[in-house]
Symmetry: C2
Subunit: 215 residues, 2 copies
């Protein structure tokens, strides 16, 4: 069991981004990178990059070549790919749910969507991107059977709480919620919300603000 100092959420977000960039650099046969280059790719500052690396106890850089990409990847993986990460259940195979299911890029990373659930008879039994859709009644069984620990919620917001309760009682401890609803969960469960409508409103606001004041 590891015993790092608690890592800030913002740092975790940036680590995920660094990792993606580093994987791309690696696939381009690069072996080293400077903090200012990674900062450029991740749209932040060199100091921020170095601080993030420091936070995860990563000090393998040297002034003449920067950081070894493999070294950085190992360090980041050791933080993000925690030993006991399970698979994902997606609930609500509508437009958005299907888009997420068909998106195959996260096959690379540890957690991937192992089962889908819906109430619509039409959808039950269908297979999307090699992921089968089950009725809600089978959730508990499938979650155990497939080692699922995470949930993605893409049902209409009225049903989001109901679905959450089911996921939690099946043993899920992390939820990514696309429904514009505030979810009530026990405090050993982590919920992250992606609110697309809110983001659009935010962009509208700041687009206006930026062009008024030139940033």
């Amino acid at each position: 069991m590891k015993r790092e100092e608690k890592i800030p959420a913002r740092t975790i977000e940036r680590l995920a981004i660094y990792r993606r960039q580093l994987l791309e650099l690696k696939s381009n046969r690069l072996s080293h990178i400077y903090s200012h280059q990674l900062a450029e790719l991740a749209n932040n500052t060199p100091a921020q990059v170095r601080r993030d690396l420091m936070i995860i106890g990563c000090s393998g850089g040297n002034p003449k070549q920067g950081y070894g990409i493999d070294y950085l990847l190992n360090s980041i993986n050791s933080i993000l790919d925690n030993d006991k990460a399970g698979q994902i259940a997606l609930v609500g195979v509508g437009d958005l749910g299907k888009a997420i299911l068909s998106y195959s890029n996260y096959q690379r990373s540890t957690p991937s969507v192992a089962a889908a659930f819906d109430i619509d008879e039409e959808k039950i039994g269908k297979v999307i991107a090699s992921c089968k859709c089950y009725p809600l009644s089978e959730m508990k069984t499938k979650v155990k059977e497939l080692g699922i620990t995470l949930g993605i919620i893409t049902v209409p917001s009225v049903y989001a709480q109901k679905v959450t309760d089911k996921l939690v009682s099946a043993g899920v401890t992390g939820i990514l919620n696309f429904a514009p609803a505030t979810l009530r969960v026990p405090n050993n469960v982590f919920v992250e919300r992606i609110d697309i409508t809110m983001e659009i409103e935010k962009v509208a606001y700041f687009a206006n603000e930026y062009s008024r004041l030139g940033k």
Copy 2:
């Protein structure tokens, strides 16, 4: 031209959430609400709610009834629905793009998707949720014609920068980017990124963390 003290991004995000909750309350015929109730609905604290309201110069609450819902809605609208907010162009009518197009809930709010763009011949000319798909060559014209000022990018990340450049040179000043790519824009253009893969990795990390330490 308004002259508020610069409003923090976090406050803007929460205002968008308050507004949605308030609209729902209003549709349930409620007329007043206390900060602690709104906090409950928005998953934050009463003090945070009052502070946000204070930031936007909103002090119409009274100790016995709380805040008038109409009053709050007007105040929030006056901030978020800025006078010169335009329509939205969505670029990349793939799985995710289609999901966003078919999602009709933001018809309510000022900006809505007025045109879609794609390079795929198959998709050009199609109409999804009463929004027509045009070739990239018509972007400049359509942006002007339809009063578009915002863009949503749902193309593969390799093309994201190219598409951004086109949007910007057509006059767009705010972009919501779903591609896992860092975009380069002039600094009068605002970019917000939604990185679904990163969010999943974050949920995986904190789900583990929370269940290890009980929050």
